[in-house]
């Protein structure tokens, strides 16, 4: 037993580490999460010991969105379809919730979301998130200017400046955009009125014309020039804490934008021009307009040429994340109004889930019976491994439904049941390789060692294919297929972990148990069952030759009759035809025969066969 191998396997240590790291630790984490941030009616996104269920099993909320006609955009089939696509991408980016998005009637969009969504989620699906960058021409306090004399307002200074040059404005920052009508509109705008703070994106504002808009909190109102950079130029958006000066991180949440090359170029030109106005000038500011409301209007301190922009404002971590998500997938082409938001029951009864689980359990029980039949006591290792894999999967899903909003749908449950097959296959491949090595006459310990090396390669390669499919489908597909890919990837990873860190170490430990080592009849490693019938003997070391009585008898019987124990497959060039069987190496009492005795036995057998053949021929001849 003394192996001086430096890479000596330490099965006990592996097992303990594995149990702690993948079973106990996640479970402890889950329990802690439940204590700290437990799920309840007031906290639907909290942690729970049971996995969250998807729309089909648990029901959820049905939000009906109605497009509101705004000028400048027509409600067409195309724009509705486009909206559905955008909404789906936004929801999918938020986690693996498997929302259900349909069109109802001519124009309505019905969004089914599992559980009880918070306001951020409702905003996510219903807000157009049309982001545009416009230069600031003028701004003022958010109250309507007194009709008598707008010049009395000190902050409105640039606005009351009579535009020097009338006619066609030269660029977007040209004050000539402020026509008397625009001025009038601006003066009349009351940003304290809620109605003016609802925004009107989705094409509500004409990008080629100046815009009069409030800030999101209604404190200021702006006159803005035509759109310089459109939201469609945003290639990616993310949220995070805003960096402060000197590379520090401030406490303020913001959204980081990256523009595509065209957008970056436009942005560079614009910021160059605005920078030219000098700091302190009103027109040095650049307004970021979201759905017709000004999010922020930072001054340009240096021209921005790399196409990266940051938006700060009164964001919370959540609202920043929502905005980043909305911007990433582009704006909805339409403005939607939440027509109704109601709870909806599960489309599949709880009966389906229960029956499905019972059926799965029955199937699992049959699997247990089958593996016990096939592998005897060793089948218990399969069962134990499956149980461990099941426990890890359960905890992982419960944790993921907390962290990623993963929801288990009925196809997901079925996927998990199918995963039993995938997982069990790893063990079967492993056991069969060990048996192959035993058939080669190895001891159990070296058979396990060699069998593992060969099985491991097969398992890794085959699981790699599964993992590739899971990753690709997860990133390319949407909705239910994405959920499926997620389940597949999860179970594949857990499966490999269990085989490497549980099944194999336990197997190494089992080789030390006499019951298995000596190949007890019920151990699944029975020599008699695995020794190749037809081979004479296995060299057992120290001058002894091991030969089981059963095999000896069988071989003797075969030698005597000259017939194979059961029909060999018929011809074909690849069919190996069997050579004459060697005679038994032992006599009836199991003692070894001398060479002379064996030769005599062989001769007798041949003669008997010849006699039988003659007899058969005469039989036929009759």
């Amino acid at each position: 037993m003394a192996t001086s191998d430096a890479r000596r396997p330490r099965p006990v240590r592996t097992l303990v580490l594995f149990t702690v790291l993948t079973v106990l630790l996640p479970f402890a984490g889950l329990v802690t999460a439940t204590m700290v941030d437990g799920a309840g009616s007031d906290n639907p996104g909290g942690a729970s010991l049971t996995p969250a269920l998807a729309l089909d099993l648990e029901g959820g909320t049905q939000i009906i969105l109605t497009p509101t006609a705004t000028d400048g955009s027509a409600i067409t089939d195309e724009s509705i379809e486009q909206s559905i696509d955008v909404i789906r991408q936004r929801i999918d980016a938020n986690g693996v919730t498997e929302a259900e998005i349909t069109r109802q009637g001519g124009q309505n969009i019905v969004v089914g979301i599992p559980g009880d969504p918070d306001q951020a989620t409702v905003d996510l699906v219903s807000q157009p998130a049309q982001m545009r960058f416009r230069p600031v021409l003028a701004y003022e306090m958010g109250t309507p200017a007194p009709d008598v004399d707008p010049s009395a307002d000190p902050s409105g200074e640039p606005a009351e400046e009579p535009p020097a040059e009338r006619g066609t404005p030269a660029d977007a920052s040209d004050l000539a955009w402020i026509t008397p009508e625009v001025q009038e509109q601006f003066d009349a705008l009351d940003c304290t009125d809620e109605a003016n703070l609802r925004g009107g994106g989705g094409g509500g504002d004409d990008p080629a014309k100046p815009l009069v808009a409030c800030t999101q909190d209604g404190s200021l109102k702006y006159v803005l020039g035509p759109v310089e950079v459109d939201g469609s130029s945003i290639s990616s958006a993310s949220s995070g804490l805003m960096p402060g000066p000197n590379g520090t991180v401030t406490n303020e949440w913001g959204v980081f934008l990256e523009l595509d090359s065209q957008g970056a170029e436009q942005f560079a030109q614009t910021s160059q021009r605005l920078f030219g106005f000098g700091q302190g000038d009103v027109r040095n500011q650049f307004a970021i307009v979201l759905d017709g409301l000004v999010v922020s209007a930072p001054g340009i301190t240096t021209p921005i040429t790399d196409g990266r922009a940051q938006i700060s404002g009164s964001f919370t971590a959540e609202s920043a994340a929502t905005l980043a998500n909305q911007l990433s997938f582009g704006a909805l082409p339409l403005q939607f109004e939440v027509q109704s938001q109601e709870t909806i029951s599960a489309t599949l009864g709880s009966e389906q889930l229960r029956t499905g689980l019972i059926a799965g359990l029955i199937g699992l029980l049959l699997v247990v019976v089958y593996s016990l039949f096939q592998y005897r006591t060793l089948g218990l290792l399969t069962v134990a491994s499956l149980v461990v894999a099941g426990a890890i999967t359960y905890v992982a899903i419960a944790l993921l439904s907390y962290a990623m909003d993963y929801r288990l749908s009925l196809p997901g449950v079925a996927g998990l049941i199918v995963a039993i097959g995938f997982t069990a296959d790893s063990f079967i491949v492993y056991f069969e390789r060990i048996r192959d090595e035993l058939r080669n006459g190895r001891s159990l310990r070296s058979a396990v060692e060699r069998g593992w090396l060969r099985a491991r390669r097969t398992i890794y390669a085959a699981k790699a294919v599964n993992l590739i499919s899971a990753v690709i489908l997860y990133y390319l597909a949407v909705g239910g297929v994405q959920g499926f890919a997620f389940t597949l990837g999860l179970t594949t990873i857990i499966d490999v972990m269990v085989v490497v860190w549980f099944t194999h170490p336990v197997m190494v430990l089992l080789t030390k148990v006499p019951f298995f080592r000596d190949g007890h009849r019920l151990s699944g490693f029975n020599r008699e069952r695995l020794t190749i019938s037809g081979t004479r003997a296995r060299y057992a070391g120290a001058g002894r030759v091991a030969m089981s009585a059963t095999i000896a008898e069988e071989a003797a019987a075969e030698a005597a009759t000259g017939a194979p124990p059961s029909g060999s497959a018929p011809g074909g060039s690849a069919t190996p035809s069997r050579g004459p069987l060697p005679a038994a190496a032992t006599d009836a009492s199991g003692g070894r025969l001398t060479i002379a005795e064996r030769r005599a036995a062989e001769r007798r057998a041949t003669e008997r066969r010849a006699a039988e053949r003659r007899a058969a021929e005469t039989e036929e001849g009759r």
Partner: protein, 364 residues
């Protein structure tokens, strides 16, 4: 003792003492799978797959102000008009029901509305609303799922080609996988159940399982054909056939273990629950796993042999082995040796090839 004989069978398969000429009789298997695939195409062409409401949209009927939100009356009302239809009923809020069915004609709709009003004791004029509902699984979802699948199959093919260092092997696996998918779809069309998103998920699972199983079987082939060109006793086809035989026990065990739970769900789903996600899913899975496991042995490996025997090196090797074998037999020299060589593709302990394994002295 069935267990013992099964194990003994496994032993014999392993040593090659007993061998099923799967590769040698590959034409038979090609013909069988070809016929099944053709039949599937025929069924798909004539019968077609009936797409469910998730793909085509349908009619949605909202019933409001009901006193009871029990779903059974709604299901009965729809079934009374359209037999065999499985409406999807959900409770909305506290006093309304949402009923989705396949697209109904105006007469059918009117009839259903009347029955619903009767069943729930409400006014058909004011409390029942009919509208159309679009597909949840629209064109966009299908397109993305399709592209995802194509990308993943290509990636898997590339992975296999690199792992086995043989693009022909990868091609054989992909072709067999497509055959599996075709046959599964054919069986599904034959039974005539509606295609739901669950079915699609089922088919994707089949795709994954099929590739996985082929990977396992091919890995055994790879192990066996390792160094096949450096010896002169066995051909590529014989080694591959040995691999198929050696992996037979594993394939049977795996398929049984994978099929038992799915079979359980199918049985319960089809017999007790009627139509629904479980039934659709488990049927596609059951057929797919069975066909997928079988095709790894009977289609993929023979196909691989057929393809790879076109490789010049393997072609030359096979020819030389066969020629030598024929020569050895005709000269009557080492006949017994040639026989044992062939059966001994897998080295058997306690037996050696004697002087026959030594380099042969050149004859003058």
């Amino acid at each position: 003792m069935a267990g013992l004989s099964f194990a003994a069978w496994g032993n014999d398969l392993y040593t090659g003492r007993r061998s099923y000429p799967i590769v040698a009789q590959r034409r038979r298997w090609f013909a069988l799978f070809g016929a099944l695939a053709l039949a599937s195409i025929l069924v798909l062409a004539t019968q077609g797959l009936s797409l469910g409401i998730d793909f085509r949209g349908g009619t949605e009927i909202a019933v409001e102000n009901v006193s009871t939100t029990q779903q059974a009356p709604a299901i009965d009302a729809v079934r009374g008009v359209v037999g065999g239809e499985e409406p999807r009923v959900a409770t909305v809020g506290s006093s309304a029901l949402r009923i989705q069915t396949q697209t109904l004609t105006d007469e059918q709709t009117a009839e259903v509305v009347t029955r619903l009003a009767e069943a729930y004791g409400i006014d058909a004029e004011t409390d029942v609303f009919v509208s159309t509902v679009g597909p949840t699984w629209g064109q966009g979802v299908s397109t993305r799922a399709l592209w995802g699948t194509v990308a993943f199959v290509l990636a898997a093919a590339a992975f296999m080609a690199i792992y086995f260092r043989a693009w022909r092997m990868s091609l054989a696996a992909i072709v067999s996988m497509l055959a599996d998918l075709l046959i599964s779809a054919g069986v599904y069309a034959l039974i005539g159940w509606e295609v739901t998103p669950s079915t699609i998920i089922g088919f994707l699972t089949i795709l994954g399982f099929s590739l996985y199983d082929k990977m396992v079987v091919f890995d055994k082939v790879r192990e066996n054909i390792d160094g096949v060109l450096d010896q002169a006793h066995t051909t590529y086809a014989e080694r591959a056939n040995l691999a198929v035989n050696q992996t037979l026990v594993r394939s049977i065990n795996t398929s049984v273990v994978a099929l038992l739970p799915v079979g359980g769900i199918l049985f319960v789903g089809a017999l007790l629950l009627g139509a629904g996600t479980l039934r659709d899913l488990s049927l596609s899975l059951f057929v797919g796993i069975a066909v997928g496991a079988a095709s790894s042995l009977f289609l993929a490996t023979p196909l691989d042999v057929s393809l790879r025997e076109r490789e010049p090196r393997i072609k030359a090797h096979t020819a030389s082995v066969l020629a030598e074998r024929a020569g050895a037999v005709t000269t009557g020299e080492d006949v017994a040796m040639a026989m044992t060589d062939r059966s001994g593709a897998q080295l058997v302990p306690g037996r050696h090839q004697g002087v026959g394994a030594q380099p042969r002295a050149r004859k003058r």
